[in-house]
């Protein structure tokens, strides 16, 4: 790792801390700390939603999957893009309006309690517990990915890389809360976008253009270029089903709630969807171009960066497919640009971790501390409880990430399915159907979560290899509707709020 690359990188880290400090100056109460006081403009909200959603997977896992197995791995991109679009189209505006009508709710558990006038706190407590459980593992997996990456690139030990990344992320999140997380997400989202556009364009140009790239990839293995034949229907449905998860991801939903105005949704949707689709294309073509480039060019210098090459049936391949983006950044670009491209990968990882940390912190500060234990707490006290919660949850995640071979990486698809199946149908029904009741929401949520666990852990083979989000989502929806219809109708006050939210 050259000095120029390192300096670029340190400037990036200092920039993030600077943003955290600026946000600290603008944070005075709990609503500021967990929702930015609903002050996000459309472009910050859009890129913050995108960058929080897209983890290091967009620059490591997806290009790696395409590199290793060809275009048959692109279906998940199609599914995710459709899900993100539908979320912006159908959930964003209504959730922004209804959370304000419902007693100015600032977290997802807060919204659920206020939407159903649930004085028992049971919806709030269960949903806050689900958030704390899944996000602790989810953030931990991001830390493992980040530490592995920078251990190799900077010659640090795994533990050193883990702590440096964690301390920077915790610092700006601790200080500046939601505004720090959203503004850093905005910068990180721009870095990710620029990197994902630049790398495949330069790579394909170096190879000799689009047709030359296709020929080179096809000559390695023709099936690499086929998205349809040889890919099973169950695999396609499972990949596309990732898109079902969006309606229940708290770290994305709060971006809708934090918008300055519901009128900003169309503009934010256009920015968010364009950012995501072009980013996904960038990742897919980086993987394809990698196949052609690594096999045909002299890339021996990669060993200096901890990247090993292997020979597979006469084809020169990367030993670790997920390093295809990093390999390009080192062989195609000036060291300063390589530093920016590496910062873009760290951006993808950090922008997801920080948002999940803050949502977890809000579950403790708003949904347990303020709602249940200290109803009279001052705003200053609540902000500090939020800060301590950020540090505490992050430290637990760091502890879970101590082992680089840890199984937390496998828990991401599980957490995504858990949120998608437990919260997704309830968010949609609560926004669109006035007949849903507290008991319907509670029963649906529990059935959705249990289905995900049982399907993933205890059933296998045949149809049970389908991604667990599908049965979880469907059963939650059915149970929530049936239980709501079977019990007493919602109160007049609840119906009045629903109609108020529908009118705005």
């Amino acid at each position: 790792m050259g000095t120029a690359t390192l300096i670029t990188f340190i400037i990036y880290l200092l920039g993030m801390l600077g943003i955290g400090f600026a946000a600290y100056k603008m944070t005075s109460n709990l609503s500021d700390y967990v929702l930015g006081g609903r002050r996000l403009g459309p472009s910050v909200a859009a890129l913050s939603a995108g960058a929080s959603d897209m983890s290091g997977w967009l620059l490591l896992g997806l290009p790696g999957a395409i590199y290793a197995a060809g275009l048959g791995e692109a279906w998940i991109g199609v599914g995710l893009a459709i899900g993100a679009y539908l979320n912006w189209q159908f959930v964003a505006r209504r959730l922004r309006v209804y959370t304000e009508v419902a007693n100015d709710s600032i977290t997802v558990p807060d919204y659920l309690e206020n939407r159903f006038h649930d004085n028992s706190h049971i919806l709030r407590v269960i949903s806050a517990l689900v958030i704390l459980l899944f996000f602790t593992f989810y953030t931990s997996s991001g830390m493992v990915a980040g530490a592995k990456l920078f251990e190799a690139s900077f010659g640090l030990s795994y533990t050193q890389a883990l702590w440096i990344g964690a301390i920077v992320t915790i610092s700006y999140t601790f200080l500046g809360g939601f505004l720090a997380v959203s503004w850093t997400d905005f910068v990180q989202g721009i870095l990710m976008f620029a990197a994902l556009i630049a790398v495949p364009i330069v790579a394909i140009t170096e190879i000799g253009g689009w047709d030359a790239t296709m020929n080179a990839v096809g000559n390695i293995e023709a099936s690499n270029l086929n998205m349809v034949s040889g890919v099973g229907m169950l695999a396609i449905i499972s990949s596309m089903a990732w898109g079902l998860g969006y309606f229940g991801q708290p770290h994305i939903l709060v971006r809708f709630m934090a918008l300055r105005s519901p009128k900003d949704v169309p503009k934010a949707r256009f920015i968010g969807v364009t950012w995501m689709v072009l980013g996904l294309y960038g990742a897919i073509f980086t993987g394809l171009a990698g196949l052609a480039y690594i096999n045909s060019q002299d890339v021996g210098m990669l060993s200096e960066f901890g990247i090993t090459l292997i020979n597979e049936n006469g084809v020169q391949m990367l030993d670790d497919p997920e390093k295809v983006f990093i390999a390009f950044s080192q062989v195609l670009f000036h060291p300063v640009i390589a530093g920016i491209l590496l910062a873009a990968i760290l951006s993808a990882i950090m922008s997801t971790i920080d948002s999940q940390l803050l949502v977890s912190s809000s579950a403790l500060a708003e949904d347990f501390y303020k709602a249940i234990f200290r109803k009279q707490a001052t705003e200053r006290e609540l902000v500090w409880v939020g800060r301590i919660a950020v540090a505490g949850i992050a430290l637990i995640a760091v502890m879970l990430a101590q082992n680089p071979d840890s199984t937390v990486l496998e828990l991401v698809s599980y957490a995504w399915a858990g949120f998608g199946a437990a919260f997704g149908p309830i968010i949609i029904l609560s926004l669109f159907w006035k007949g849903i009741t507290r008991n319907g929401a509670l029963a649906g949520m529990i059935v959705g979560a249990v289905t995900v666990v049982v399907w993933a852990d205890f059933l296998s083979g045949g149809i049970f290899d389908l991604y667990e989000i599908v049965p979880g989502f469907i059963l939650n929806l059915i149970v929530a509707i049936l239980v709501s219809l079977a019990g007493p109708k919602p109160s007049k006050e609840i119906i009045a709020s629903f109609e108020e939210a529908s009118r705005r």
Partner: protein, 35 residues
């Protein structure tokens, strides 16, 4: 070296659904603004 290109079905699934989403977000940018 043999010549290769994307098949029709692959070309369709790779280059039709995702750009349509951008197109829809452009259309609704104008239709929803006027409400």
């Amino acid at each position: 070296m043999e010549e290769f290109a994307l098949t029709g079905a692959t070309w369709f699934w790779l280059f039709v659904p995702m750009p349509i989403l951008i197109l829809l977000s452009v259309i609704t940018l104008f239709t929803e603004r006027s409400e």
